[in-house]
Subunit: 112 residues, 2 copies
DNA sequence: CGGGATGTGCCGGTCGGCGATATATGTAGA
DNA sequence: TCTACATATATCGCCGACCGGCACATCCCG
């Protein structure tokens, strides 16, 4: 799973949302760093639907505009939780290793 | 940056390593889940060299076999630290949102 | 009436990961 | 000895995900 997809699942984790709202939510989550394009969005949405990680929660018309809302499935919830845990583990390991090498930039002599 | 690349940088974070050792190290870091192929490895290594995130640390012959070691550059260290922090933030946000929706599976009435 | 925000959707290009394949040496066992 | 496996590096082509660009439609504001 790649980052845009992960951000998408995260944006759906607390409540169902429709496409356009997801773009804004992803931007908010990533502190404005990730501007999701509609090409990425709908492609990813189709993929996630097919994988059963999300489902269509509602299809309504608001102010004359069609709006389709998506929600996480239980499988999606599980996948997101697993992914989050894995990423945290990698991040922790990366930081641990970095601190080791920073503390000892190079070894010059034995036992020293 | 994708996960294999992140794992590669992580594997280099505490000490320089050569290609084959990186495959094994990545496998160890990911608890055996990620089996890196040489196609992925050398492609990623070339990319990272070009981006200046890693550098060739040594080229030696051990037991008749050529061996090329790679090391993180300062830029690579910075990139890895930034990436780790970002991933941790996303993971935390994902887990926070999941716990919110699990605590309140659905809202049936107002103010209730 | 024009422009910007809201809203969904497709298409083609690009890039990274992956499987397959090739080459070469050292080591262990039948 | 011959065979198989671990060590070690490297290339190629395919595929899937992401991305920029585009199209289309409605609503609101000036």
């Amino acid at each position: 799973m790649q980052e845009p997809t992960l951000l998408l699942l995260t944006a759906l984790a607390d409540a169902p949302r429709h496409g356009y709202a997801l773009i804004q939510e992803v931007s908010a989550i990533s502190d404005g760093r990730v501007k999701m394009r509609t090409g990425t969005l709908y492609g990813a949405l189709d993929r996630l639907l097919q994988q059963g990680l999300i489902e269509v929660a509602a299809e309504e018309v608001v102010d004359g505009r069609a709006r389709r809302s998506y929600a996480l499935t239980d499988a999606g919830r599980g996948a997101l939780a697993a992914e989050a845990e894995r990423l945290r583990a990698v991040a922790t390991e990366a930081e641990r290793r970095l601190s080791v090498s920073v503390a000892r930039p190079r070894v010059r002599g034995a036992f020293a």
